[in-house]
Amino acid sequence: MSQIAFPSPDPTILARRDEIVAGLAAILPPDGLIADVAGRRAFETDALTAYRRLPLAVALPCSIDEVARIMRFCRDGGVNIVARGAGTSLSGGAIPQEDAIVLGLSKMNRILEINLADRYARVEAGVTNLAISEAVAADGFFYAPDPSSQLACTIGGNVGMNSGGAHCLKYGVTVNNLLGVRLVTLDGDVLDLGGPAPDAGGLDWLGVVCGSEGQLGIVVEATVKLIRAAEGARPTLFGFDSCADASRCVAAIVGAGIVPVAMEYMDKAAIAICENFAKAGYPLDVEAMLIVEVEGSEAEIAAELARIGAIAKAHGVRVTRESMSAMESAQIWKGRKSAFGATGRVADYICMDGTVPTGRLPEALERVGEICAAYGLRVANVFHAGDGNMHPLILYDVNDPDQQQKAEEAGMEVLKMSVALGGSLTGEHGVGIEKRDLMTCQYSDADLAQQKRVRAAFDPQAQLNPAKVFPLERRPA
């Protein structure tokens, strides 16, 4: 018996299914609408695969006009809409419901404009994260946020979740790299928020739309910042005999005024899993490892690594391995970025995403270990240490309902602990359905009511991505 509840589907909507499909068919070309069960099955879950619901229908529009017409049609008919990019959400943000349609942006995948002089790209929502960087790599530019799923995940989804990634320590998360969005509201209005010129003034619409998990409107286009890459970049591995030493080293590096581009933490379990998959040359005999990437000229890299190396030494580092080639650097990052996939080969897991103040990391890691041990579960820790964004992977067997329940309970305890230490339930994966019912740990009723009133300013009937983010309200019997 799984723990996360879904609202019971609205029978009046289910009864009108044929009529709703016919209405969508009048808006979309035949290949833009999926109504058969087999086709809909592909959209029933996302990366939170333990949960699935078959959507009423799947709309795959090709144009802003089609999106606007779908929105008006659904508003008028009271049909709920679940936006979807590539379906890589780890929090169930794109999991549909039986009485909702999925609005997938995958066909809107054109790069519309690249302007290197003004350092921005304007792209449709279905363009993948990595495709933006690839399009400008030859000119030496990149788009900074780099979620592990960047090969597949779309910019629309990144905006929805305010996605992060390993390199956000220096360059910020999606909201810090987003210049503008084109948003289609439930009324079918097309709003241009922000834009390539800086500092729009007025209310910070971008700030509230980014991370709103598809509940304020449909992002159909994004204008993002392009950054010129540094002269060079190099990751170095630091292996420690204790997790506490490694996490204290992180705090010391930050405290010394050094801001590396990335600072990643892996414990012994995660190292073994990733090394087995990626053959990145990770040290297998250490308890914890940091991947620290610095950038600049050869001399700058050497100087910064020397500073970091001295701090690591003071924290008892035993193994230090600097990448000696571009290929080696790629392997080191491949190992880290495939952590979730590689873990999936050895066990089922749920991935937590709590954030704690960096000064509390040693304590938080210890508590994660204790909590999982108490449930008799294994855990692998791999996360963005520089900003305290933890990703404990709690391992379990999905075919064992008892274990699944335990894993979920352990995960909830870990997240509550993150909040209690002054942190957050989620640093970059979003609330989705997964952490919805824990929101009351982080926010008061008044805080949540305020957020909901802002949501209602965009979507008064809560038709967009319903039953996500906010604790499920009990319907009157």
Binding site: A117, G202, G207, G423, M439, F458
Partner: protein, 397 residues
Amino acid sequence: MIVEQAAALAPADEDEARAIVAEARLGDETLDIVGGGSRAGFGRPPEGRRRLSSARLDGIVFHEPAEMTLRARAGAPLSAIAVALDAHNQMLPFEPIDHRALLGGGEPTVGGLVATNASGPRRVSAGAARDSLIGLRLVNGLGEAIMSGGRVTKNVAGLDLVKLNCGALGTLGFLTEATFKLLPKPESEATIVIRRLDDPRAIAAMTAALGSPYGVSGAAALTPGMGREFSRTFLRVEGFAASVDHRAEALLKLLAEFGPERVLCGEDSQRLWRGVRDVEFLAEPRVRAVWRVGVRASRAVEFLARLGPHALAHLFDCGGGLVWLATAPTPADAAAVRAALAPLGGHATIVRAPQDLRAAVDVFQRQPAALTALTRRIKAAFDPDGVFNRGRMYAGI
């Protein structure tokens, strides 16, 4: 006890602020939020009947140097925060503009900084105030205490009401507390100076520098008559000393065709960027209106050409993406600015103008009807009875 300071209501804590707002709401009262007063001349003129002051919400709540975070109450003077950060060689990343050069007196506070999203030249590399503001507390128009964000830099739990309130000129709530992420103060800085470039060449030099791999953290250009009789273009790099030396050298090579002449360091460089940050060069004559125009750098010259003689003086920041502009303080000039910008895309904001002009014309870029309606609904979501700062951003909202 709620103290009445110079006819302003000045709560000493969040509970007192809640009580004041709840009472104002029931009494159909309207409140204008005031802090140190240094940014009081920004926005449309106040329309409220009483003033609500953050003066007694003073003090730093915490500064965690090792976590690079600071939380302060809304009335805390920025000068006190600078002292606390200096002691640990840290700083607010976004180099907030001190509006006193343009607007006159007062004491800049945390509340005013948040209300105006006050930022400076380093926004090209470190973003604006909203990018470093990671948490806040406020009292909404219902008299409720609301928290959003927190003290960690990565936090995507729920809707981000932090950024929504940053730059909202206090129209959505009375800020009581704000939390910022910090940066280490750079060990060293260097500014490359290029003299005598005309506007298109200045923009070209800045564009080349910002598109380089050398981490430029300031790109500004002053026109003739601003401190010197010739124009000057400035490019700043910051960081560890050896790195700054290397990147300054590399930039000098990259920009050779523009004839870079000298490199300013240390206090000379800092003084220069303070001047750019505070737009000192447009402070006089004080009768002029001053505008902040966000436009794509590649269109900045075209914008000025379209504006013609209405542009009395200008300088560029953010590589030309921000044009600071002086015009005569008339509705006709305001209309000319809007008309010149319209086909190019961008945002023009009046930062300084006489009160009657700020009442008569849009201070912020006019929004399309759907966005104006949304602005009204957001206002109502925080402040349904219109207690706070009525009309400060948009007439009637």
